[in-house]
Each structure stands twice: as C-alpha cells, then as structure tokens.
Symmetry: C2
Subunit: 427 residues, 2 copies
C-alpha cells in the first residue's frame, strides 16, 4: 500500500497533513449560514476568509496582500529578491451548500507547503507565489474565473456593471468590500514574472478512486460546449390520439437522450455528454407533451474532437426530429476551448508522483478551473487528489487525510525539484 | 359527398344544425372570464348555464328540473306517461380555458332533437330524458363524474367533505348553489326506469378526421392505468464522471420512455401509452441527473389487454433499471376499468350512421365520459363526432357545422328507430 510505504514524512513535520485538514476545517466555518457552507464573492464571509488566509500566508513566511479583485496573494522570495515565480493557487469562494475541499485543498496545501519550507529555511532559485482566487465559481455575478482573469490581464471590465440577485452591481460590491473597481488592471501580471502556474485540486470525479490512486496528473482542462434544444410536436389527449398519429415531443427528446448517451459511451476519446435539464409541456399525466426543452453538455480534452462530436450529436437529433415530424431548435449557449496542461510541467508532476511511489496516472479535468484563465499568462499544470465517490459541490465532498498527505508530499517534491521551462527543455 | 347527398333535411327544420351551433355559442358566453371559457361546478356561471339549459328543455317540450347534485334533467313523455326512458346526455361543466364543444355538443344536440320531434308532435313508445351532467371534468373537487354517479346511485358521500382550492367544501358549495347535500341520494335512478344511456360527444382525437368521416360508433370507453415511476441513480458533475461510471437517472428514464412508446406502437390491440410528465433532479445543465420522476398512462379498450400491457411495461422498465443500477419505484395512481358499449346499442348506432349514408367506422374512446358511471344503471352507447385536428380541452376545439348536422341527423334517426333491448334482441 502506498500509504503504508509512505507515511507522512515531511522533513521532520509529520503534522503537515493534519495542519492542512485543520485549516480546511477552520476555513469552512466561515460561511453565510452555519449548517450549509456558502461563501460567495465579496460578502462579509468572503472578507473574513481572506483575512484568515492572509494570516496563514504571513505565518508561512510570505509577504501577503489582497489585490484589486479580492485575490489573496502571498509571495515567498527565492535565493534573491525579485525572481520570477512558480505560482501555486486555487480559489476560496464556494458554491451554495458546498463541500469544504473544492478550492481550499489546493490553496491551503500550497500555503502549508511553503510554511514547511520556511520552517526549514529553504529557498529556491525562483520565488513562490500562492494565490487564493476570489471568484472561480461565479455564483454571485454569473461570470466565472473573475480572480484568475484579473491576474491574467483578461478581466472584462464590462462585467463591473452586472448586478447580483439583490440588485447590487459588481462595482458597488467591490467598493463596499474595500477595493477600488477602477484599479483591477493593476492585478494583472506579466508573463515574464511567472515560470508556471500549478494547481492542486480535488478530482471532483470518481476516476482516481476507481483506479485506487490518491493522486493523478491532469492532461488538460476539457473544453465544453453547451446546447439548449427544444422539440415542438403536437400536444394531445393521452387517451384519444393513436400512437401512429402522435407527434410526441417527449418521446422524441427521450430518443435524443438515448442517442447522445450511446454516442458518448462508444466514443474512444473520453468524450462525455450529459442531458441535465429537461422540461416537458404541458406536463400533465394525461396529455401528450407538445413541447420539450432540454440541455446538452459535451466535453472533451480535445477541441477538434469535441467540435466533431457536437456536430455529430446535432446531426443525430436533427434526424430524429425530422423522422418524428418535430420542429427542432438548437442553440449554443456556452463554448469553452480546451486548456492543455504543458507537457514539460506534466512531466515534472509525473516525476513527483512517481517519486512518492505512486503509479503515474493521467486524466483530463472535466470540470473548469482557474487554469482556464491562467493559460493566458503562463503554462499550466494540475495535480488531482482523490475525493470520495467523486462527489463534489455537495456537503458530502470528502478527501481522506492520507490523500491530503499524498497531495502535500507530491506538491513539496514538485517544488523542490522544479525546473523552469528552459532548464527542463535542455535537460 | 355525404354532406351533399344529405343536406340538412330534418323533417322541415333545415335550421337544426344552426340552432345547435347558436346554442353552443350562447352557452359558451357563460364563463368565469370572458376571454377564456371556464365553467366550474357549482359556480354562479354554472348556475346561469343550468338555467339557460332548463329553459331550452322547456322550449323543446320537456318537463325540466335541477336534481340534488346540479344535473339539468328534462323529460319528454312517450306515447303515454311514465314509460321507461331512453336517456340522452352529456355534461355542461368545462375544464379551464376550455373549448366550447366538449360536453355541450351532445347535450344541446339531444335537446334540439327532442325539440324537433316536439314541433312535429312525434311521440314514441318510450320516454326520452335528457341530462346535462353537472360535473364530468372534476376540476373543482378533483373527483370526476359527480353528476352521472349521482344518477347511477354510486355517488360517494364522503366526497362532500372535500374542499376546493379556496377551502370551500362540496357540501357548502351545494348549499350555496341552492341544493340540499343530504338529498343527493334522491337523484339516483332505478335500472328499470332506463332503457339505455346514449351520448353524443366530440371525438377529442384525430381518428375520424384521418378517416374522412363526420361520425363514428364508439366500441368502449377505454380503461386506463396510471403509474408514477421514479428512478434514482447518482448525481454527478457533467464534466468529471466518465460515461461508463455514470448512473444517470435521466438517461435511464429516456430509455424507458422510448421502450414504452415502441411497445405501444407495435401493439395491434389499439393500446396507447403516454409519458406526459417528467422531472429531473437537480436539473442543472452541468449536473448528471441523480433522480427522475415520470408518469405513465396506459389505455386500452380491453381490460385484460391493458393489464397485460401494464405488466409488460413494468417488466421492461425494471429490466432497464436493473441493467443501469438505478433504483426503481413504480406505483399505480389510478386504475379505471373499460366500459364496453352494449353490442345491441352499437348495432343501432351503426344502423343510424349507415342510414344517413356514412361508412360505419368503429373506434374506442380513449377519453373518459359519463358513460363510465352510467354503466352501473344502464347499457351504454356513444356516437362520436369529428373535431378539427383532434384538438380538445383547448380554445381551438372546433367542429364544423356540417359535422354538427351529421351528428344531429344520426341522433334523430337513432331515436326514431330505437328499439329497447328485448325488442332488439328478438328481432
């Protein structure tokens, strides 16, 4: 067993895993409501969490500050001041009724790893920065990756006018939080300042668990296309319209859903396709549905593969609609490119995992992460940590202490052995 | 063309079809709201409609009264007073935002046919009674066939305590309407008083239209079984759970819907099966549905056939659930026996249709009708009249004047040639 062979041996600090879990628990206590973890961008809880994170960064030997979008930023200098940095990070906002690991695990592991190095007085030929991104989930303003976009210099200032459900604009919320909305540009970093961006995160899926592994190398953050489809047939009395005279929109949608699932199941490129929402109208037991709306979410680690798949799926549902004399409307509501993890960084992640004695296993990230924005300013890599049952965005989200340890050891080893791209490429 | 060969020749009253349509228009003006026809049991509109129907009955030479449940009752004596009656009827309540033909066509055609006979001074060796049933749709108290159950002596007095959405009990609503709720038993009729119950109604389906026929002989009012099904799998992130590790409740439900449709389409016994309602939870674009509820409505003109079909459908969805590792729950929420139309009466309906020059076409009624209650006190038959596009329970419900004429001629001929069961059987 990997865990038995590699007990928590962290350079004289066997309590690092415990410290990470303790800090995750402490951070999770900062919530809108005590029973359901909810920590939304620019709320008082968000501010309290930022303050706690800033204090841990200082404790870990970092100089820390809040930037203009609310990112918590800590810097641990290298051999000499002002060196380009290896940037580590994850986010500290949550969805509503969240789990406590999504975001905080990566952020706190990074802080605690730096703290362990600080205790040992270790410095490297590069700086380390740790960023707690202010808004990855996009719950409040329906616009995700606000923190990492500000860092990457791709923040769209037009979203400052967007209002939350209570009518507060992002601009006003930033001001009330104590930040200057006209200063967000100052959060942007230059490519020359960053050697790489590296994020540790729970997998949010069941693959590592099914492989029996605590950690994995992320190959890419999969691109996603979302479609809104509607089928219109003819409503009718469930008793009086013979089967062969029906234009049942729900039977048509059901055939589409089965076809989408079959198409993705038989794909050998790791495609995933999901119909998560469906609404049949009028929706009465004794009425044949005349209209059905449903969504389609298609993801792949290859943009080309995803685009072909979307075209194939649309062609299939067009064929189904035509044969059933249903009117089909399909609109693309969301389209995100794939963000590949840099091969030179993936090799270093793999080496660190192998160095800790684990089998190296690669998998794409089907969920979105701050790396999707960070790619615009740095090469990106990710380490995934197993989470129980693949459950995420739910209070049952859980990572075992031994997996937290494994993640921390891998991250420590990664930092200790990190070589910037030029050095890595010439090796 | 049948219509051209059989112009509206009704014994010197070429305006009978026009009269029926005029009365349907007049009755449809009595509505809760002027723009959407809604006439609910025991409301002021319901009372105003009853008064108008009573006046038309008197005009048609009938003695009329309101019975204890609010049925409008008219009696046209035969050759001598007190003879058993041929009972004609339909209902005068409506669904919300209704069409004007569902119910009133049969009721008003019956009144106008009696009126035509009255004008000609015709009497028969049997009485004719026309009943306008007070509540067939069951909109107010979620309990259908209240009027016909009172006549059949099967009214369940426990429903008097049921309250409408405003909190008014049926008992109080009857009292406010001017009726004595303790007197409903007095509305019940003895089997010896009734020779038969005969109802003309719009088809509410597209079959006669697809056959190019204005009228048809109903074989039976199909029995119906309704099931509430739920499938429970495992919710998950649409991006992070590979296809082969999913337990997608909506994909499972979709497979069930496709199977139910295929099963009913290939049935040669006229089975119809409908999934009219579906709800997927949590219902977000990017979340694999963990639970789905849906309804199944299965009807057939044969109870034995329907029961076998229900068992087959349940077996099929059980198999689908087992294969997909989904938890299935299925409950029967409604189960109505088939009400066969009496063969001796069907023959007379067929003879009247043929006598008017139309091809005799038989079809089951997939919708419920007052005959479902009347079967407990009399043999039952029905005549269907074509309605445009099969549309019903909708403001677009429509029957052409020429089809109204055809229905009236068939009903007149039926009455003129009516022979009670004994006479018919010995013929």
């Amino acid at each position: 067993m990997a865990d038995a062979e590699h007990p928590c041996d962290l350079g004289g600090d066997p309590s690092l895993g415990q410290e990470i879990v303790r800090r995750i628990d402490a951070l999770s206590a900062i919530s809108e409501t005590p029973d359901h973890l909810t920590r939304i961008f620019l709320t008082p809880e968000h501010r309290a969490a930022a303050d706690l994170l800033l204090s841990w960064m200082q404790e870990a030997g970092m100089v820390s500050h809040l930037d203009a979008i609310g990112n918590v930023c800590g810097r641990y200098e290298g051999d000499r001041p002002g060196l380009p940095c290896l940037m580590l990070g994850s986010h500290y906002d949550t969805v509503r009724d969240a789990g406590k690991w999504d975001g905080p695990l990566g952020l706190i592991t990074a802080i605690s790893c730096v703290g362990a190095m600080h205790k040992r007085g270790q410095r490297w030929p590069f700086a380390i920065e740790v960023i707690g991104f202010a808004d990855e989930e996009g719950v409040r303003f329906a616009s995700t990756l606000l923190g990492s976009r500000a860092i990457a210099g791709t923040f769209d200032e037009s979203v400052l006018g967007v209002r939350d459900s209570a009518g507060t604009s992002m601009r006003d919320a930033l001001s009330r939080f104590g930040l200057d909305p006209d200063h967000i540009g100052a959060a942007a970093r230059a490519r020359s300042e960053l050697l790489a961006y590296l994020e540790l995160h729970i997998e949010q899926g069941p693959v590592l668990e099914s492989q029996g592994l605590p950690v994995g190398v992320v190959t890419a953050i999969s691109g996603a296309t979302r479609l809104a489809a509607s089928l219109t047939g003819m409503a009718g009395h469930a008793g009086t319209v013979p089967m062969l005279l029906r234009r049942d929109a729900l039977a048509g949608a059901a055939e589409c859903i089965v076809a989408i699932e079959a198409f993705c199941r038989t794909d050998e490129g790791g495609l995933v396709g999901t119909v998560g929402y469906i609404h049949a109208m009028p929706g009465a037991t004794n009425v044949i549905p005349g209209q059905v709306s449903f969504t389609i979410d298609i993801r792949s680690a290859s943009d080309a593969h995803r685009k072909l798949a979307v075209a194939d799926v649309v062609r299939q549902i067009e064929t189904i609609a035509r044969r059933r004399k249903l009117l089909l409307q399909v609109d693309v509501t969301h389209d995100n490119r794939t963000v590949p993890c840099a091969p030179w960084l993936r090799r270093q992640v793999a080496d660190a995992i192998a160095g800790e004695g684990y089998r190296v296993f690669e998998l794409p990230s089907g969920a979105g992460h701050d790396g999707m924005a960070m790619i615009d300013v740095a090469d990106v890599a990710m380490v995934f940590v197993r989470c129980r049952g693949g459950i995420s965005h739910h209070p049952d989200e859980h990572t075992d202490m031994s997996d937290v340890d494994a993640g921390a050891r891998v991250l420590l080893r990664l930092i200790e052995n990190f070589r910037p791209r030029e050095a890595a490429d010439s090796a």
